[in-house]
């Protein structure tokens, strides 16, 4: 088995009096699609926001490639090779596709100390990324505000690819997509893993998860209640973990 890219130990997150996450242990491995499931409010988005450097954890530690890390911003996480596609896609609708793909990490050349954008080069790169993704977007200069849900998802994925990320986290990437666009995003998810990327996928769609995931983790009320290899489980068992009907979950919730 390959060494984990990222190890989370005892992660907890409190928002004031509300405990959104407690004592979560998780290992994320390269080349593997890990699906994160759980009911609304289970803490999935909160967990990945901690991995992404958007929230500091209240407790616990993160270890990336064997080294403990403390992210104080999404930029820190990005420089550790973690790219996140947030549920509320962090795209700027008023900027163009190529501007969005490079936002925060623009290509520039310095003239007399002033950083000038290398727009032509950025456009060229985005153009070839879009082709590679088969995203059906012809103009990288179009404003993101004018794109469809699937096209926006593709732009967000472009951003992750462009970062050469070692871990790509996707929060419900297919939630707002039509069938054809969903297929494309799922295929892309597999392709990322085949490239050696670690992928974390959050989804509410069980059949979709069984189609692409190698490993399935279930969150319930801020705790990790199950971790299964896909081959060792079935949709019924996973659903019982999510709803809390599984005897193991009942026992766990009684002890706490």
């Amino acid at each position: 088995m390959t060494a984990a890219f990222l190890v989370a130990r005892g992660i907890a997150k409190r928002f004031g009096a509300l405990t959104a996450l407690s004592d979560v242990d998780l290992e994320i491995r390269p080349g593997e699609v890990l699906a994160l499931l759980g009911d609304n409010g289970a803490g999935k988005s909160t967990f990945i926001k901690i991995l992404a450097g958007a929230h500091p954890p209240s407790d616990g530690e993160l270890i990336v490639e064997g080294m403990p890390v403390a992210f104080s911003s999404p930029k820190d996480a990005a420089s550790s090779g973690i790219a996140t596609i947030f549920q509320e896609l962090a795209l700027s609708e008023n900027l163009s596709i190529s501007e969005n793909v490079f936002l925060g990490r623009e290509l520039k050349r310095s003239v007399l100390g002033v950083p000038f954008l290398r727009r032509a080069e950025m456009r060229r790169r985005v153009d070839s990324l879009l082709k590679e993704l088969d995203a059906h977007i012809s103009d990288p200069e179009a404003p993101v505000g004018s794109l469809s849900g699937g096209q926006r998802q593709a732009v967000a994925i472009c951003r992750a690819l462009n970062l050469n990320a070692k871990l790509v986290i996707m929060d419900e990437p297919t939630a707002a997509l039509a069938v054809a666009e969903t297929r494309k995003v799922l295929a892309l998810t597999r392709r990322l893993a085949e490239r050696g990327c670690a992928v974390v996928l959050i989804s509410h769609n069980i059949s979709e998860v069984f189609e692409v995931a190698d490993r399935i983790v279930v969150f319930r009320r801020g705790r990790k209640v199950a971790e299964r290899l896909r081959a060792e489980t079935d949709p019924e068992e996973i659903v019982s973990f999510i709803t809390g009907a599984h005897p193991g979950v009942r026992a766990l919730e009684k002890t706490n």
């Binding site: 962090a90 008023n94 925060g104 002033v114 950083p115 000038f116 954008l117 200069e141």
Partner: protein, 325 residues
């Protein structure tokens, strides 16, 4: 699409309408008043526009970033006192010219500290500073006007190069610099991204705090530069200096098509918004409307254009639904 590409420097329907409104106003006033269509009056309108062109440029950047500054009038007042005092003390005029932008930049730094580090909404933070600075002006002036200042800075308006006063070149340079910053450097993308959504900008890895600080400082410096021209123009600073400037600047910029909600701005629109406002104010005065009514006209325009935008947004949303999309 075309329009988007040069997002900050373009002639869209908005800019053309403003230009048409300017022309229309000039025609109406020329018919209404025999004093209106004179070269002397054209000069007056342009001279009266100088400060607002610079302050409006800073306000445009702030609004585009989702910020605002309602203290620009008193910031200009404080910077003008600095310039005036330096001039009165016999400091070299070239150095004096820089006192304005430096004071303004410093006050921009103060505003940014209060708003960004203090986590106070921009409108509230600058409103608080407005109160403080208004009293500071009173104290500094000791209840009297700063008047009869030396003519050291008059060259900025009096000396012409190729038929245009130095002021025109300075303003053109300021607009060019802002255009370059917005369209050719990462700073512009970051500013517009923050204006679209501060949270998304942060998630994208943009140094939000740095960009917000820089924008307040730039806007302060532009307001301070306006103070230099103010002193050059009037050679006095009165107690109520700049009392309608914030309203004028916000109205002109919003009129020009910059979004009050952030994320969108127009350089050409800002220039035309300033000119339209000053043309109206000057024309109304010449046809006998007391200057007391000027803020009413400005405020009315501001409210009118904002309601119009809300309405037309609703309309296009409705059409969108009707089209079955």
């Amino acid at each position: 699409m075309r329009q988007f590409r040069d997002g900050v420097f373009s002639m869209t329907g908005r800019e053309w309408s403003l230009l048409a409104a300017c022309v229309l106003a000039i025609i109406v006033f020329s018919v209404a008043s025999p004093y209106y269509a004179t070269s002397g009056n054209a000069g007056t309108v342009l001279r009266n526009s100088i400060e607002l062109l610079l302050i409006g440029l800073g306000m445009m950047l702030l609004l585009a970033m989702g910020g605002i500054d309602v203290s620009v009038g008193v910031v200009m007042g404080l910077a003008a006192i600095g310039v005036g005092r330096a001039l009165g003390a016999g400091v070299d005029p070239v150095l004096t010219a820089f006192v304005g932008p430096l004071t303004g930049a410093l006050l921009g730094l103060v505003a940014a500290t209060v708003i960004v580090l203090g986590r106070v909404p921009a409108i509230v933070g600058t409103l608080g500073l407005l109160g403080v600075y208004r009293t500071a002006i009173f104290v500094l002036l000791g209840g009297q006007w700063l008047s009869g200042l030396p003519t050291g800075l008059t060259v900025l308006l009096g000396t012409t190069i190729l038929g245009l006063p130095i002021a025109a070149y300075v303003i053109a340079l300021a607009y060019l610099a802002v255009w370059v910053a917005l369209r050719r450097t990462p700073f512009g993308l970051h500013l517009l991204a923050i204006g679209n959504s501060e949270e998304k900008a942060r998630l994208s890895g943009i140094p939000v705090v740095k960009v917000r600080f820089a924008t307040f400082i730039i806007s302060g410096a532009l307001t301070g530069l306006a103070a230099t021209f103010y002193v050059a123009n009037y050679r006095n600073v009165e107690m109520t200096v700049g009392s309608t400037l914030a309203l004028d600047a916000i109205a002109a910029v919003v009129l020009g098509g910059t979004s009050i909600l952030g994320g969108k701005c127009s350089l050409v629109g800002t220039v035309l918004g300033v000119l339209l406002l000053r043309i109206l104010q000057n024309g109304l005065l010449l046809v006998g409307v007391p200057s007391l009514w000027q803020p009413v006209v400005t405020g009315g325009l501001l409210i009118g254009v904002l309601s119009f935008e809300v309405l037309s947004n609703r309309l296009s949303l409705l059409q969108f639904r009707w089209a079955g999309k």
